[in-house]
């Protein structure tokens, strides 16, 4: 179980962070300062926050290219931004 109250434990690019329930995976990634790499190798993170731009996409529990702004964190979730 997570140690901080009713917070959830999420692992982003190998770093574990704790977030409150109903935090989106995209928000957790920004708080962990995790970035994706664009086609040309630039660091990117969420832009539109509402499922339009796909800049926040990541591999979540093995599923590729998930729009992380459209998904709530679950305890024990593993996120890889590829950055």
């Amino acid at each position: 179980m997570p140690d901080a109250g009713d917070n959830l434990r999420v692992t982003i690019d190998g770093t574990q962070i704790h977030v409150p329930p109903r935090t989106t995976v995209a928000a957790a990634c920004v708080m962990a300062r995790a970035t994706r790499r664009s086609v040309a190798g630039e660091p990117r993170t969420a832009l539109c926050g509402m499922g339009v731009c796909f800049e926040c996409r990541a591999t979540v529990d093995g599923r590729l290219d998930v729009r992380t702004c459209m998904l709530h964190c679950r305890d024990g979730m593993e996120v890889h931004t590829g950055g």
Binding site: V19, P20, P21, R22, T23, T24, A26, A27, A28, V30, M31, R33, T35, S38, V39, A40, E42, P43, R44, T45, A46, L47, C48, G49, M50, G51, V52, C53, F54, E55, R57, R63, D65, C69, M70, L71, H72, C73
Partner: protein
């Protein structure tokens, strides 16, 4: 294949924002079996987006009403294909295909933020203005962070007030429109007590925040860690100032989300879906309400939703009655569009090496010799990435007067398994 048989209804509503929820309620009270489908994990759309702490009270009230109406709501479900008149294919949050069939569809797909490219806009720490608010509602902690809000429109004020309440330090609020135009709009509010009240409340909540008009962001600067560090602003008089910030929320208004309508073959009127008095589109059985049918705001969307819902349920008499309330809301929307019209100098925002298509990293200069969005796409891959031109498309409409390019399925990237399930469904449909 029992699993692959489509879900049938009298009316399918796509989008669970104010317009969609109002349409579902109207159609259900007329006796129609209604299914609402929305790609977000929560209903309410963007304006009634739930925060990570609590659902939005107005969305919750309408949703409770829909439950009593017997409306089925599919959340986390994204429509990716459509066959007119009434067949939709969607993918749920688990990556599984969902097929929907109905003789009538109401498109309430809302709008996206108009995000204009400028040097540095791709840096981590730069968000859409509404995007930043969505992130904060999604749990992004902004307490003590220095936030700049820039661009255009009343959304900036609402976001600034909300972020301030979440503990952010609003460094400045920067509006590209002239102060005079915005004042003129405020002057038209005298007969709109509710909106006047909202405007006054926002002014109180933004007390002490530096406000600039006729000013816009021209460059975002990165710190040593690659994240946003500062933003340079330019005024209409040519003066420039650079502000140290942690986060930038920047949006230049809203663009109707028309891709599903285009896929169904609906005609556009400029950047919005063309509709008649009963909010019927050019395709029989397909209706459109809310921002997708023209930016008008939440009150407009609620009225339009009711019109489209009644009309989709074949109660044109009730739709026409609901229409009486629309004229006033449309009038306000027109005044708003006029006051916050984008100044031509903003067409100079991107330099030749500014990335315009963020999915494929296509620079503005690479588009110089192309005559339209389709031509540019074929030659440069601009608009060909995962977002399918939903960010660069509206920007290039403003920058280059390029009309929206044609739309092909799937509307969003879809797992192969869901596509296979779709084919199975199609095969089993007589």
């Amino acid at each position: 294949m029992a699993d692959a048989s489509p879900m049938r209804a009298d009316v399918i509503v796509v989008g669970a924002g104010p317009a969609g929820l109002a349409a579902a309620h109207a159609a259900a009270t007329d006796g129609a079996r209604v299914v609402v489908v929305d790609e977000n994990p929560e209903t309410g759309g963007q304006i009634w987006r739930a925060s990570h702490r609590a659902p939005h009270p107005r969305a919750r009230a309408l949703l409770a009403q829909l439950e009593r109406d017997g409306v089925t709501t599919l959340r986390g479900t994204t429509v990716f294909d459509a066959v007119p008149p009434g067949s939709l294919r969607a993918v749920d949050a688990g990556g599984h295909s969902v097929a929907l069939e109905a003789p009538a569809i109401v498109l309430a797909t809302g709008a996206t933020e108009l995000l204009l490219p400028f040097p540095g806009w791709t840096l981590p720490g730069v968000f859409g203005a509404g995007g930043l608010q969505a992130m904060v509602k999604g749990g992004l902690d902004v307490a003590g962070r220095r936030v700049l809000l820039a661009g255009s429109g009343p959304l900036l004020l609402a976001v600034a007030a909300a972020l301030r309440r979440s503990g952010a330090r609003i460094v400045a609020l920067v509006e590209q429109a002239d102060r005079r135009a915005v004042r003129r709009l405020a002057g038209t509010l005298w007969n709109r007590p509710a909106k006047l009240g909202q405007a006054a409340a926002l002014s109180v909540r933004l007390c002490g925040v530096p406000r600039h008009h006729a000013t816009w962001p021209v460059r975002a600067h990165a710190g040593g860690d690659g994240w946003l560090r500062a933003v340079t602003l330019r005024g209409a008089d040519g003066s420039e100032t650079t502000l140290d910030v942690d986060l930038l929320g920047v949006g230049f208004g809203l663009a109707p989300a028309t891709r599903l309508a285009q896929l169904l073959g609906c005609e556009l009127d400029g950047d919005r879906v063309a509709t008649d008095d009963l909010l019927r589109t050019s395709v029989p059985g397909v209706h459109c309400a809310g921002e997708a049918a023209g930016i008008g705001g939440v009150d407009c969307a609620l009225v339009e939703g009711a019109i489209a819902g009644h009309s989709a349920a074949r109660r044109d008499d009730l739709a026409l009655r609901a229409r009486r309330r629309l004229r006033r809301e449309r009038g306000f929307a027109a005044a708003l569009a006029d006051a916050f019209a984008l100044r031509p100098e903003l067409r100079e925002l991107p330099t030749s090496d500014t990335v315009v298509c963020r999915c494929e990293d296509v620079a503005y200069g690479a588009l110089a010799d192309h005559r339209d969005a389709h031509d540019a796409k074929l030659a440069t891959r601009c608009g060909m990435g995962p977002c399918q031109g939903r960010i660069c498309g509206p920007a290039l409409r403003f920058l280059r007067d390029w009309a929206a390019d044609r739309v092909r399925p799937p509307l969003v990237p879809v797992p192969m398994a869901a596509l296979r399930e779709t084919l199975a469904t199609t095969d089993s449909t007589p």
